[in-house]
């Protein structure tokens, strides 16, 4: 686990908007293959950066979910590394706040694919998040805002 300054060039926000690069000085860097939620102290006041070494390795989604469950909405959880535009919804629905996109990734998949990543993805799942949402909550009249 290392402190790291991020040098990616773009950020995909939960709103679906792609903005120019974000720098994350002092972020806590986590490798989901070797780190767990216990590596993030309660009350931490800096972002957590989780790296995906391969789009096929979904450990980062579970780690993000664990952190969100333990730390609540105040912790800023950011994804970076090898993610496809098609995985943006998985990341946000698992608890990430942002996805950092390198210039290479933006060009490889096309800016349009990132811009529309959440428009083409399935948004409403059965199970909601702790903050609300989800088809079951809607069906049974307990949707939170």
């Amino acid at each position: 686990m290392t402190d790291q300054t991020n040098d990616d060039d773009w950020v995909l926000e939960k709103s679906g908007e792609v903005k120019p690069g974000s720098s994350l000085p002092g972020a806590l860097h986590l490798d989901p293959d070797t780190h767990g939620p216990g590596d993030v102290p309660l009350g931490i006041n800096r972002p957590v950066l989780i790296t995906f070494d391969s789009f096929a390795n979904g450990r980062g989604f579970s780690l993000a979910r664990q952190l969100r469950e333990r730390h609540g909405p105040s912790l800023r959880i950011v994804a970076q590394g090898h993610l496809l535009p098609d995985q943006a919804r998985h990341a946000f629905q698992s608890g990430f706040d942002e996805i950092l996109i390198s210039d290479n990734a933006l060009n490889a998949y096309g800016a349009h694919a990132w811009d529309t990543a959440l428009q083409t993805a399935v948004g409403a799942l059965y199970l909601g998040e702790v903050s609300g949402g989800g088809i079951w909550n809607r069906r049974h009249g307990h949707e939170l805002t």
Partner: protein
């Protein structure tokens, strides 16, 4: 049966739209084949030897007549006029074009169907007893919990990129007709003292190159606890399952390497740190689903006496028709294993005709069985003769359900890119020879399952006579296993000895059956005989002529 509301429909429509976009980007070269692969697999699209294969989900094996008619239409329009029903109660189209798939998904969505999670390293289609809701020995209908699991697992964001595929089966009866203990997670549902559903959770079963029977994770789990426990079980697997070796990536290996107690401790440690409120609505959702299935149960009828003077009809009644839990009905199994047929294959015309039969005689409902047959679950007893006559016309009245010729087979080297040998010609030849033999002797309870490679899609490990096709020095070679079982007494079959070439395999199977009949006492099944006498008598019988020749 379960009917979509606007929420279900919107989700399936959105997924079809999403996949159309993914295909368009692949065709435009914006994503590589490597990157497209997990995306297409999560929507049931494989690249096989000759073409793309689309696997369509049939959740827990339940189909309406309209849905089956649509499957026939797709076979006609987009395939070569047939489809292949699988051991996990789905259907595969072996000759699809990539450019057609998005249209096929739109057609499927129009009848509340999809191909979501029928392949890929995610939670697959949940399977269950094909006789759910109609079997006389049922404790509780497993379909409501299977549907609840379908909803929970559909597009689950955390579990879409697991170490390997993940299969779940549910049972609710004394007899396990879903091979529950050969699944990553098996769930045995029962009723508690106050009528509440309870669930025994089994973990770590599977076939492939390391066959395992599942072990009991926890018994009598309540409905409110079920999804939190399953979600934590999947999370621990996702975090700790191996990704360095795909052959060691299934949960059965994780559980074996960690030990059941350590795995269980990890699961409960995760649960202790969770806010479980996201699952609060699950019991209400279960009740909503359960009410739909209950409403679809048919009212009792006056029992009818069935004339048995026609020997062919009587044989069909004996082999293909089972007792029903509701008075006045019978459940009819339609064999897709006629002599020389490809196990599980049905033509477009047959699918449409069976859909018509279901409308006329089975409350518009059809089921797909784990053994690759179809079921008409609600046939009034006084309509059995009419159903039989119609099936004779269709060439689908083979009276061999549960007999040796009711063979399971994977597509094998005729279609599959992973296969090492052909399964289909072996199954076809054996079906002809075994069907002849069944005219002379009782081969009930013999299961013959054939896989075309070590991945074991033909469930050879779980058969009383299992056949595994291998490539030995560029020749197809067939290894035989004996005494496997897929039912509630699940066990992995034992390898008999060296394999046989394709030509000598059928005679070896006959010699094994000869030995079985000679050794059998008081109607014993093959697994019981094997447990009593061991491998040697079977081995001597199978190899004796080969040794003499040598």
């Amino acid at each position: 049966m379960y009917t979509y509301d606007a929420h279900d429909q919107a989700l399936v429509d959105a997924r079809a739209h999403e996949f159309r976009d993914q295909v368009a980007r692949r065709l435009a070269g914006q994503i590589s084949e490597d990157e497209f692969k997990p995306l297409r697999l999560q929507n049931g699209l494989y690249l096989q030897l000759h073409a793309y294969m689309l696997r369509v989900a049939i959740p827990y094996g339940v189909l309406s007549a309209d849905q089956l008619r649509m499957l026939g239409f797709l076979a006609d329009r987009y395939d070569r006029g047939y489809g292949h029903f699988t051991t996990r109660q789905n259907i595969q189209y072996n000759w699809t074009q990539l450019s057609d798939v998005a249209d096929m998904l739109d057609h499927l969505a129009s009848v509340q169907m999809h191909a979501i999670q029928t392949s890929g390293n995610c939670i697959r289609n949940v399977t269950t007893d094909a006789y759910a809701g109609v079997a006389a020995d049922e404790w509780i209908d497993p379909r409501p919990v299977a549907e609840l699991l379908r909803q929970w697992s559909t597009l689950h964001p955390e579990f879409a990129f697991l170490p390997r595929k993940f299969k779940i089966a549910v049972t609710g009866a004394a007899e396990d007709r879903a091979a529950m203990k050969f699944h990553d997670i098996g769930i045995a549902a029962s009723l508690g003292e106050n009528g509440e559903p309870l669930f025994d959770i089994w973990v770590g079963g599977g076939q492939g190159r390391t066959p395992r029977v599942a072990v009991l994770f926890e018994s009598r789990v309540s409905l409110p606890k079920l999804l939190p426990v399953l979600d934590a079980m999947l999370r621990v697997y996702n975090l700790h399952g191996r990704r360095d070796n795909k052959y060691k990536a299934r949960i059965k290996i994780l559980v074996a390497e960690m030990g059941l107690e350590a795995y269980r401790d990890e699961v409960y440690a995760d649960l202790a740190n969770r806010d479980g409120s996201v699952f609060d609505e699950a019991p209400k959702e279960y009740a909503r689903i359960e009410a739909q299935f209950a409403a679809a149960q048919q009212p009792p009828l006056t029992p009818a006496s069935v004339e048995r003077t026609d020997p062919a009809f009587a044989a069909w009644l004996d082999e293909n028709v089972i007792a029903h839990r509701v008075e006045g009905y019978a459940a009819v199994t339609i064999s897709l294993k006629s002599k020389g047929a490809i196990p599980g294959d049905a033509t477009a015309e047959q699918m449409k005709a069976i859909a018509d039969l279901a409308e006329r005689h089975s409350a518009s409902e059809v089921r797909v069985t784990h053994r690759q047959n179809l079921v008409l679950p609600w046939v009034p007893q006084d309509e059995l003769r009419a159903v039989f006559d119609a099936l004779v016309e269709l060439g689908l009245a083979e009276a061999n359900i549960g007999l040796a010729s009711d063979i399971i087979a994977c597509p094998g080297l005729d279609y599959c890119a992973l296969a090492t040998a052909r399964s289909i010609p072996v199954a076809q030849r054996l079906s002809i020879e075994l069907r002849e033999r069944e005219k002379r002797e009782d081969l009930r309870g013999i299961t013959v399952n054939i896989s075309g490679c070590i991945n074991a899609c033909g469930h050879h490990h779980a058969a009383t006579i299992g056949i595994l096709g291998l490539n030995k020095a560029e020749q197809e070679n067939y290894q035989v296993t004996l005494a496997g079982r897929a039912d509630e007494g699940a066990q992995v079959g034992s390898i008999l000895g060296p394999g046989f070439d394709a030509e000598s395999l059928p005679s070896a199977i006959h010699r094994i059956l000869d030995a079985f009949q000679a050794l059998r006492q008081d109607g014993e099944d093959l697994a019981s005989v094997y447990a009593r006498v061991g491998k040697d008598p079977f081995k001597q019988a199978a190899y004796a002529p080969l040794e003499q020749a040598a």
